[in-house]
Symmetry: C2
Subunit: 436 residues, 2 copies
């Protein structure tokens, strides 16, 4: 029997992830100790309501409502409460007491990352967060360590399982958004209040985390452009598939150049993804992160993006890392923001667009429309016109679908404003960015 | 200008990976130093022939043929020679002198891994090898660190780009093996002597490395069952697609139980992969590693499995890790073989099989064949019979394609022996394992 140094592990939060972490730690403790080179003693699980029903049982003597006392006696604190407060305060208390912290909390990282990393560095503690993006999918270590010798050019991520489930169902079953959302709620993929998911805010948190890490630059949540899926219609999804695309909510982090200055951009919005792109094959509530790097080329990381036991896998991986560091000593890896690149707003983003218009069905309209795009230096790649619609309307209309070459977002926005004001355009039906 | 401690980096090997590592290190040295917290000074590149043509220029003053002197003056040694000797001797010299070592050399790891890790541990040095499996794809860190809190059940890897290119071409273009191999050679995907690739030996090296890492158990190369693709015919690939499969060369590492004992198994062979499995969509020379873990569920890592600049990305990631460790101090992560599970031979493997037979086209044959399977406790899932063939032969024959439920390899092998000896079987056309 090998004798290990014992590390005291405190878990904050007894929800689906917290209870799984506790259960797996109790079940596989010896195995994890052998890998870590240190014993991992679960000293308590802090919960708000000790009597709440849980996915897995936590032994009663480990349950406490006194998070602060638990934190003070721990070598490693696992924060699985979620949200900003009291999570932020607890993480700071833990770090300031010299404990390493493991968190799955994307919101606190996206909103207060620099403060937390600074606190960790001050005392030589570490903050681990593999579970905060992509659930069980290893993406933090690959970006921080494996790609540390490369230059990431772009990340395209499906990082929210709820919206991917909804959009996939709209694509494969022909559902409207509200039907797919109802089904997602029924299956437990969507929260009672689905705003954070379908509004894109959850994905925006993750985009801020990924962009900061990949570009060695602090990217805060308010610098991430965020557009959710609430405007996506069944008709758009069907039209996309006919044109060879699938609609996905993407978190996009890129190196871009604006006015000759190198910088970065982070944005979340629904996008058209070509059917032959690896991200198009990510179905259901799965997540995937597609990374383009200068030397490595294209990489993809795929798996379950959420779920209690899946997220617990990532948390326990961080726990073994934290324990190994305790045994090894040394300050560990500090977050690097050495590059400190400017973060550009969405207006500087460059991508392709699909613009769907309802126009008057009369001679010369196409020329007028084409001129409007040209006036704003937006180059048209393809135009297709559907059979005339607008039956019963005052005058006959036709649907034009225009796909542009790469254009700057600000130019496209100006084009759309002109289109809206044009007398030959009955309505701008949709504007979708084309990615991948 | 920040002043860093300077680390002396020696590169052994000036081939496609070595010259790219040197070029990128010279080009991005400052950026890497900022991430590592230490300067990375390339002190030399040891080559066999200084005048050999190279993909990228290495400054003449850095080139040397004296590898041993270069090693002695280095803090970090990057071994990119490949093969067993002199790579093994150089790695041991470097570790024994206290240098960290980075290698992309799967052969030396699969054949001498325990000796090398032991040498590293003795002096408190580290051996990094992210580039040895899957080229640019981060797979070593995810297995060693991210999944350290989980239990890996199975790995299915497409880890050899040459054979994947060949099999993909046979599938998508209808080539025979020799045509696809000729094209792979012309494009530089296959070596002049393709034995290591098409014989499965390269993949077997990688299977030994992955199995050792995933199961915390020493799995040596001679414990890996190895069957290459030389027996795969265009007809098999076409028949597979018709039946809903694609043929892939897989490296399979599994936890299995044999005679009530828990152990592991590692095998490389062509396998039928269902068309809707993520591995079926891995085309060309790309690699992908599909991992099933108890808590994390299914994960996939995808990207370029080879190529000079892609592999250099993984090497440089290791270089930054090594430099961070030099700055941080501490012993780093030791390889864990705590589980030390028994490694079972292929005879204990359990999988599904597709057996294609040419049989006499006469009444009662199917019953006879079915009885033979049953006699060996191999349960049949599906049988399909093609239109009678064997025109011009002495007597009419038919083709039977039998897919089994899961069976133990030894039982299947005994079944095939009985089939071969049976008077109603004209020939056993092929036996393929079904995975995924």
């Amino acid at each position: 029997m090998i004798e290990y140094r014992n590390l005291r592990v405190a878990v904050l939060g007894g929800g689906s992830v917290g209870s799984q972490v506790a259960a797996l730690l109790l079940q596989h403790g010896e195995e994890l100790a052998a890998r870590a080179g240190a014993g991992l003693e679960l000293v308590g699980v802090a919960v708000r309501n000790p009597d709440a029903p849980r996915d897995t049982d936590i032994p009663a003597h480990l349950i406490t409502t006194d998070a602060e006392s638990l934190i003070l006696g721990a070598d490693i604190v696992v924060e699985l409460i979620g949200g900003i407060e009291p999570a932020r305060t607890y993480i700071l208390q833990a770090l300031n007491s010299g404990a390493d912290v493991i968190t799955a909390n994307k919101a606190v990282l996206a909103n207060h990352g620099p403060e937390l990393f600074e606190a960790a560095e001050q005392v030589g503690a570490q903050l681990y967060y593999e579970a905060a993006v992509g659930g069980a999918i290893p993406i933090i270590r690959p970006l921080r360590d494996s790609l540390a010798g490369d230059r990431v050019k772009r990340i395209l991520g499906i990082v929210n399982g709820t919206t991917n489930y909804i959009l996939d169902r709209m694509d494969t079953r022909g559902d409207e958004l509200r039907e797919a959302l109802a089904e997602a709620t029924r299956l437990g993929y969507a929260e009672a209040d689905p705003t954070a998911d379908i509004g894109g805010f959850d994905a925006a948190n993750k985009a801020a985390i990924l962009a900061s890490l990949a570009f060695h630059t602090t990217v805060s949540l308010d610098e991430v452009y965020c557009e959710g899926i609430t405007g996506v219609t069944g008709e758009q999804v069907r039209a996309a598939r006919k044109a060879g695309y699938v609609v996905k909510l993407l978190a996009i982090c890129e190196r871009i150049t604006a006015d000759g200055v190198e910088g970065v951009s982070a944005r979340v919005h629904p996008a058209l993804v070509p059917l032959d792109h690896p991200l198009a094959a990510v179905h259901g509530a799965n997540n995937a992160v597609f990374v383009e790097a200068e030397a490595a080329g294209s990489l993809m990381f795929y798996g379950a993006g959420a779920g209690g036991v899946e997220t617990a896998s990532a948390v326990l991986g961080d726990l073994v890392s934290a324990a190994r560091r305790h045994v090894a000593g040394g300050p560990g890896v500090a977050e690097s923001t050495h590059a400190n690149l400017p973060v550009f707003p969405i207006a500087s983003a460059i991508t392709r667009y699909q613009v769907t218009l309802e126009v008057n069905d009369e001679p010369g309209v196409l020329a007028t429309i084409a001129q409007l795009f040209s006036d704003h230096s937006v180059s048209v790649e393809a135009v297709s016109q559907s059979v005339a619609g607008g039956q019963g309307a005052e005058r006959p209309t036709a649907t034009l679908v225009i796909v542009t070459h790469e254009a700057i977002e600000s130019s496209l926005a100006a084009t759309v404003a002109s289109l809206t004001a044009s007398p030959v355009v009955a309505s701008v039906v949709s504007v979708l960015r084309v990615e991948g």
